[in-house]
């Protein structure tokens, strides 16, 4: 029996990307003072949960590992989080793993890197229009600054569109979570625990998360885990959040496809790099841009196009979500089932500031290692993905000194594009935890309770 997803304890960002609120801004902050706890707690009533939503404004709150530590979460409890999260995105071995080296080394990042101020958390603000957003954003920053926090960066997004800066429709394929209203209509769903901690995941198990002795939560703010001796569950309702600022060199992309296309034309080459036409229509289904297929997500690769003749094996969408194309037994339910253990719930938005354009790539994960990091390393970055050679993801994969190779499978013989330059550069990033709403209240009250009980941070002024 699957426990029902408690929608009122899950931040609404898990359930929706706020298409109805096109204006957005992500505010990175540092926790400077124990008063920050009260400030953050003051934001909680403004956070919509994962139930039905009809507002003009939405606010969400996520914390990094350093933020949790600054609020006073003790080290043994921190260890209950995933190691990827507590270590952070910029540990040297992780940078190698994620491909953040050379030009995209975290030392060169605008935020989140070792040379940048410590990022403790983020407020995600969404509003119906820019005017409303600006007014709310000003108030927010004032409140943060007055309340023991520093504002490190305001990452303003472009008005929500479903087209990313290279000109392609984005965000079409998303996993559908069991227990959300959308699930009823979906052909394929994934268990809630894949994205929300405290619920069974794809293996029918609960992903590890911080559990506290009941005595650490005397006010009973947190739900109890009845399978584990009634421990207080700090993870339940929460999700890991990955944010990466991906700067896109739009001119270079279009220049490249124009120069490299040959007789087939730049539009076709660009579509092949991505795997969809600008409208969103998948190449595997149509050799021309057919807007009627713009939302089409009902396809596999193995039966329709096993050799990549319609959609190249190395196309971005065929790597980031290979569907039924990988071992064991491509084309079978087993292949799809394994693919489903490596899905990303994407909530990114494009930006355009100071002449730089790109995407604030944002995704949610119940298990960073098996989902986000696996997709990045094993599918996107791997030069030998699915039998290819010297070929990282043509769109977002890292580049060696000589660029990368993109192969267009064709009859009678393939065509290779050598030396693909980088079109995307990582400019910032961090792992966050998007707590459940009850957990958020517990965390926000930590500076006070720990201050009062003589915890290791005793600077509380209350």
């Amino acid at each position: 029996m699957q426990p029902e997803l408690e929608l009122e304890d899950v931040q609404g960002l898990v359930a929706r990307g706020y298409r109805t609120l096109p204006a957005g801004c992500f505010t990175l902050f540092g926790v400077e003072d124990p008063a920050a706890g009260d400030t953050l707690e003051g934001l909680i009533p403004r956070i919509p949960n994962a139930g039905p939503f009809t507002g003009d404004v939405a606010l969400h709150l996520a914390l990094t590992a350093s933020g949790l530590r600054r609020l006073g979460l003790p080290a043994p409890i921190m260890e209950g989080f995933a190691a990827e999260f507590t270590e952070g995105m910029t540990a040297p071995h992780r940078s190698r793993f994620l491909g953040d080296t050379g030009d995209t080394d975290p030392r060169s990042w605008l935020w989140g890197g070792p040379a940048s101020p410590r990022c403790d958390g983020m407020v995600l603000l969404y509003a119906r229009d820019a005017t409303l957003l600006n007014a709310q954003q000003d108030l927010l920053c004032q409140a943060l600054r007055a309340g023991g926090l520093t504002v490190l960066a305001e990452l303003r997004t472009l008005p929500f569109t479903d087209t990313e800066p290279f000109g392609f429709r984005d965000g079409i394929s998303q996993p559908v979570i069991e227990g959300l209203s959308k699930a009823a209509a979906a052909a394929r769903t994934v268990p809630a625990g894949e994205f929300v901690l405290g619920y069974p995941n794809a293996y029918g198990l609960l992903t590890d998360r911080p559990l506290l002795p009941s005595s650490a939560d005397p006010d009973r703010l947190l739900p109890r885990d009845h399978r584990r001796d009634g421990l207080a569950d700090l993870g339940r309702g929460g999700s890991y959040l990955v944010l990466r600022q991906l700067e896109q060199d739009v001119a270079a992309f279009h220049r490249y496809v124009k120069d490299a296309a040959g007789p087939a034309g730049p539009d076709l080459l660009a579509a092949r790099l991505i795997g969809r036409w600008p409208s969103g229509a998948p190449l595997v289904k149509t050799p021309d841009d057919d807007p009627r297929l713009r939302d089409d997500n009902e396809f596999g690769y193995h039966r329709a196009d096993p050799y990549g003749l319609a959609c190249p094996i190395g196309a971005h969408i065929r790597r980031a979500n290979p569907r039924d194309s990988l071992d064991p037994d491509p084309g079978t339910a087993k292949s799809l089932e394994i693919n489903d253990r490596h899905r990303l719930l994407r909530r990114g938005r494009p930006y355009d500031t100071d002449g730089a354009t790109g995407l604030y790539f944002l995704c949610l994960s119940g298990n960073l290692a098996r989902q986000y990091e696996f997709v990045q390393h094993t599918w996107v970055n791997d030069p030998a993905f699915n039998g290819l050679s010297d070929a990282t993801d043509p769109l977002v994969g890292p580049r060696g000194p000589g660029g990368t190779t993109f192969t267009v499978q064709a009859r009678p013989a393939r065509e290779r594009h050598l030396g693909l330059p980088a079109f995307v550069r990582v400019r910032g990033g961090a792992y966050f935890f998007l707590p459940g709403i009850r957990a958020l209240r517990y965390l926000a009250r930590l500076p006070r309770t720990r201050g009062a009980s003589g915890g290791h941070r005793t600077r509380a002024r209350r």
């Binding site: 540990a91 071995h93 793993f97 071992d327 064991p328 253990r341 098996r370 390393h377």
Partner: protein, 424 residues
């Protein structure tokens, strides 16, 4: 081509010097094993090689198993040539690191003495999986060069290809290979392992079942008894619930993901009692038989990303060492184990102390995703210094390259030629 062999050399480290040696190995490994002092790049027939320190460990009775230095090589036969090369080519490094070990004769001693010492400290593997039996290191490297050359040739011809048939294109590639003196070898099939070795393997393949046949009635009677006893043991087992320490994870991660492949090294104590001792011996024997005669063709029970893997019982069978060279990240390797071959992992590691609870040996166990991942990480030994002879080639790349080469030979139908061209 010769067949491949697993070389395992293990020696106890002088009291109090294990830590110093471990640091030195990491340093040498980081600088690259192809360079001084090992120069593995100059050793013919080495696919992979590693040195690591097996830390001191207490067995289940509390007795201390002292720290040891272990060398593992996945190399082309014969063993004698490899050991000689270790001294003649990699001698500077070998003398240095084995110099930390008790009783190593050292640089002052004659080559024969040192060779004898290495042989005396070699130990057999209980089972050794080879991705493709008989595909030597030189062949793998040469076929990678061949593929790159053919790809470049095709790149240069692209304008003219569209109106040709696959057979015509194949013919042009063959002509190109034939006309290029450095590549002309590819038009002949690779040599097979020695006839004497193949005869021995064939004898094993048919001899073992023949010998077991008379015992079959007794085995049929014994099997249910064994199964029930095992199930009772399983119910009493205590799975380890500890998570790996952050420092341990970090130490391991720093040594990983530097090439297309990674090394995996782990050691664990075997559960106590004669039943577990018998079970693991049976399972390792079965694996030995299976990998020698069934899985030597680029596929280990559904997992195609493993180049080599070995299981070595040590310390009077109190411990088992598992070591492999696999493609991609440890996360993807572990996911493959869980999703594709959990039963196989359970059969072996299920006899290890602390493994997630199994049911009837094959079920459960690795399917407890996180417990299994923690178990592997907690038993993993940092592979301090590791060498790969072909850092950018996955097992799948190697297999494809071999098929490209094989496809240069013989006659093909148009459909076969089209299939062959798809590999480029």
């Amino acid at each position: 081509m010769p067949h491949q062999i697993a070389v395992t050399i293990r020696a106890p480290i002088d009291e109090g010097r294990a830590d110093e040696l471990r640091k030195r190995l990491v340093e040498v490994g980081r600088a690259g094993m192809a360079g001084a002092p090992f120069r593995f790049d100059r050793l013919p027939g080495v696919h992979f090689a590693r040195f690591f320190v097996l830390p001191e460990q207490q067995d289940l009775t509390g007795a201390v198993i002292p720290a040891g230095l272990v060398y593992l090589g996945e190399v082309d036969a014969p063993l004698g040539r490899h050991l000689a090369n270790l001294l003649d080519v990699a001698g500077e490094g070998v003398d240095e690191v084995f110099g930390y070990c008790t009783g190593y004769p050292g640089t002052g001693a004659s080559r024969t003495t040192r060779l004898r010492w290495l042989r005396a400290h070699s130990m057999p593997a209980d089972a050794f999986y080879v991705n493709t039996i008989g595909r030597g290191q030189a062949q793998i490297r040469a076929e990678a060069t061949l593929r790159a050359a053919i790809e470049e040739f095709l790149d240069g011809q692209h304008e003219d290809l569209s109106d040709r048939t696959p057979l015509q294109i194949r013919q042009e590639i063959r002509a190109y290979v034939n006309d290029t003196p450095e590549l002309a070898w590819a038009l002949h099939p690779p040599p097979r392992p020695a006839l004497s070795w193949r005869a021995k393997e064939a004898l094993h393949r048919f001899g073992v079942p023949a010998l077991l046949l008379p015992a079959l009635p007794a085995l049929i009677v014994a099997a249910p008894v064994w199964a029930v006893l095992l199930r009772l043991h399983e119910l009493r087992d205590e799975p380890d619930t500890e998570r790996p320490a952050p420092e341990q994870l970090q130490e391991l991660a720093e040594l990983e993901d530097l090439a297309a492949q990674n090394p995996f090294t782990a050691v664990g104590l075997v559960k106590p009692g004669p039943l577990r001792g018998l079970t693991i011996r049976l399972v390792l024997s079965a694996i030995d038989y299976a990998v020698r005669h069934h899985y030597g063709h680029a596929d280990l029970a559904g997992v195609k990303t493993i180049h080599f893997a070995r299981w070595v019982s040590m310390d009077d069978r109190r411990r088992v060492l598992f070591a492999s060279d696999y493609d991609g990240s440890l996360e993807s390797y572990m996911d493959d184990f869980i999703d594709k071959v959990a039963w196989g992992l359970n059969a072996v590691f299920g006899n290890g102390v602390g493994y997630p609870r199994t049911r009837w040996l094959l079920f459960g166990g690795a399917r407890d995703e996180q417990a299994f991942k923690y178990y592997l990480r907690r038993h993993q030994i940092p592979t301090a210094a590791w060498y790969s002879a072909y850092e950018s080639l996955t097992a799948r790349n190697i297999e494809r390259n071999a098929l490209i080469r094989a496809g240069l030979n013989g006659e093909m139908s148009p459909a076969e030629a089209e299939r062959w061209l798809r590999m480029l």
